[in-house]
Symmetry: C2
């Protein structure tokens, strides 16, 4: 016997008044039945009322019920068999997908001096929107389609000009590849190097473990160069397994080195001029490749910035830049200037479109650069960060004379040398003050030769202007 | 003997008037010297004039020259040795990086009916900008920082609501991962499956070779399911190597199948209700995983859309959606709704930030969805494409009665069945008319069982409104 709808105990809240459209009623009924099956109120195997009887119960057209049943049969919730009517599908009701436990707000720090992020409150929102508006007004329709895996030509052209002007990079738009920040660029390059048969990339003694991990994921070991009083030492680049021809068909079996020549991260010194030359000589002699991480090359406060190493030999250096420090990491926009033939291999690794960045952000950044807004923003940011660095140095002199900021006046972070053996204690004291700050030891490569350097890496670029004074005060309180 | 500057024959165009700042002069001199070395006009080993003598020649301050020399020493262009003065670095001048040959404009087609792209001229530019403005006005600063690898919570929350309402997806924001379009999602999933020890993914007989290639790159073979008069057949999903427990700890050694259940691409039929049920049963029985590619689920013109397969069992189905058809591929925005524990593995594979999408686009899409602009846009697009499909069907009836559009009235493309043996000829004739259109054979999996189907896959969504009539006319001219 067919059960009546009421017996099924399913609530149906259908709008059936004059305003209700037929398709609205049908959708409402379909949704309600689906929920009833999903929630287990209609058990598997349950026979549903005939469409005629349900239509009478609900005061709606029979066809509407029949359509709703058909929808749910098509979706697999119901089955309809000749002679056996419409039933709830004979399958166990899936248990409801439980929401994953929400992460507890960890009670973030009150003062944040972690390095690696610029002052996000200073993102030029209005100027960015203005650029977005202009970009949207002028973008050809096909800019919204599947695009060149290298990225939008407008942005590559704007970057070629900017990088040449501001960083001495020798850039042809055809050899620029836009990527989702430095990390994606490094990851793609790691894949290309691995595909060339390489097993190892030389890195600096100090750096970011996320970068070493990215290379490891690509199947590459990392081996650190020593770091001495002149900074990263290039002497141990040594003789690779390369062709030794120093020219011609590329770095087939050669080694690669990842460097931060303009401003060693985090130690804060530029690569010594002799060592810049030595690195390029090594690359030519051994068929090596230099990966130049120019993460904050725009931010130098003491003098003219050192130009990019890439300018010395665009055939041996991959230049990697990013908007993460100059604008914001959330943009996920970076760029590589690549020698041939590695450009072709990176484009191949990047594939058709799967790793591409959004076209609108690319067009907006292109407009932002060509309109001069980028230069203006960088100039303003340079002043802001320079002032903070000066305040930091002055505060140290006044309040913590045993602590010295080392490295050049540049970038968004400073290394504060601590008395030997005090790094851990200071970090601990900082956490009691709810001050987030990182010790130098967390930036040391696990294979780096032992060196007793106790220091803090202070990201003075991180706080908003209104939070800076408090953060500096908190820092001074915890310094020895 | 020291050469005079004039002897070096280097042109220096320096602004040295009253307005010229010292740093401007220094930069001008540095740039000019760098270019002279780079271009070979100053040969390696050449000794430069003393800073004093050059300063006199140029009528600028001696310190300015000394600073410029120091900059270039730091960059590696010059060397400075006690007693030997300043010289051009002893290294071969790198040959200029030659621009890669520009690709010739290939003389694109006059009429474009290639499937896979929506009408890009209909992208809602003004509404998108409005959403961007609102998103920018309300975004917290930390939205611009390094973010959650799953993507912005605002977008995941908006999608959970939208997908539940529009597609019957059971979505928790915590299990949504934003990705750079479907392709990135599939690529990440491929990596996760491979890491689980899988070697193969079952696919449909018809599909996109770029998808099969993505899986191949991840180390996975693809094996096609048969396609018959009811569409893709699930009978051969068969017994996998899974645990057979049908519940519990996941799909460790099990198989996965990639399906387009709502609208088979490109054949244009929905997965038969019995086969929807069979696929889910298989996944439960064998511990399998269904990858549901819901690329155009919003575009169904004949009746209520079939809900997502994922709603039947969120623990066994990964739902993949994209903005590439509903808005534009250039946004590079897609989303996955994932069962645990695969959600955690995908997040792990996605890594910290390297594959993330731009935060501003994510926030803009979130605002676009929650404000109702997305629904409005989809409704408008549905009307436009429906009208085009109707016009295509009418034109076929009138002008090419031997050709029939198969599949349901949905999506942005139609399959036109051709008389046997005519596919190649028609494609050839189309290219003579400068009409871009694709044959069905290019969508067949290489291992699919032979089937004599001659057909065109016509992307009626591709042209702009003003180009549609001409494209349809060109199509009719080449049909038998």
């Amino acid at each position: 016997m067919e059960e009546s709808w009421a017996t099924l105990g399913v609530d149906l809240h259908l709008e059936t008044g004059a305003e209700a459209t037929r398709s609205g009623v049908r959708k409402g009924l379909t949704d309600a039945l689906r929920e009833a099956v999903r929630g287990g109120r209609l058990a598997p195997g349950t026979r549903l009322p005939s469409s005629r009887s349900l239509a009478v119960d609900l005061g709606i057209a029979r066809n509407t019920v029949a359509d709703a049943y058909a929808d749910l049969v098509a979706e697999g919730w119901l089955t309809a068999r000749q002679g056996s009517g419409t039933r709830v599908a004979e399958r166990s009701v899936p248990r409801p997908a439980e929401p994953a436990p929400r992460r507890r707000a960890a009670g973030g720090p009150t003062y944040d001096l972690m390095p690696g992020t610029p002052d996000l409150s200073a993102f030029p929102r209005a100027a960015w929107l203005k650029a977005a508006r202009r970009a949207m007004a002028t973008a050809p329709n096909d800019a919204l389609g599947y695009g060149d895996p290298r990225g939008r030509v407008e942005l590559r052209t704007a970057l070629a000009d900017y990088l040449s002007r501001a960083r001495g990079v020798r850039a042809d738009p055809d050899r620029i590849v836009i990527c989702a920040g430095f990390a994606q660029g490094l990851s793609l390059l790691g894949g290309v190097l691995r595909a060339r048969g390489q097993r190892e990339v030389t890195v600096e003694s100090y750096g970011l473990d996320v970068h070493w991990d990215l290379l490891k994921r690509a199947g590459l070991r990392t081996r650190p160069l020593p770091f001495d009083e002149l900074g990263t030492s290039t002497a141990e680049l040594g003789a690779g397994s390369g062709s030794g021809s120093g020219s011609g068909s590329g770095f087939g079996s050669a080694k690669a080195v990842l460097l931060t020549p303009a401003h060693q991260f985090p130690m804060g010194v530029p690569l010594h001029p002799d060592r810049r030359a030595a690195a390029v000589d090594w690359a030519r002699r051994e068929g090596g490749l230099i990966l130049e991480d120019d993460y904050d090359g725009e931010f130098r406060y003491d003098r003219q910035p050192v130009g990019a190493l890439q300018g010395l030999d665009p055939d041996r250096v991959v230049y990697l830049g990013t908007a993460s420090k100059s604008l914001a990491p959330g943009l996920r926009l970076g760029w590589m200037v690549l020698p041939e033939p590695i450009a072709a291999e990176v484009v191949e690794a990047k594939g058709g479109a799967e790793w591409a960045c959004g076209a609108l952000d690319q067009l907006t950044l292109a407009e932002f650069i060509t309109s001069g807004a980028y230069d203006r923003h960088v100039r303003g940011a340079r002043l802001r960060y320079r002032r903070r660095r000066d305040q930091l140095v002055a505060a140290l002199a006044a309040r913590a004379p045993e602590v010295r900021a080392t490295g050049i006046a540049a970038g968004l972070h400073a290394v504060l040398e601590l008395p030997p053996g005090t790094e851990r204690t200071v970090i601990q004291a900082a956490s009691w003050q709810r001050l987030a700050v990182q010790g130098l030891s967390s930036f040391r490569h696990p294979l780096a030769r032992p060196a007793e350097r106790d220091a803090l890496v202070v990201g003075y670029g991180t706080p908003a202007d209104h939070g800076w004074a408090g953060a500096l005060e908190a820092l001074c309180r915890v310094l020895p």
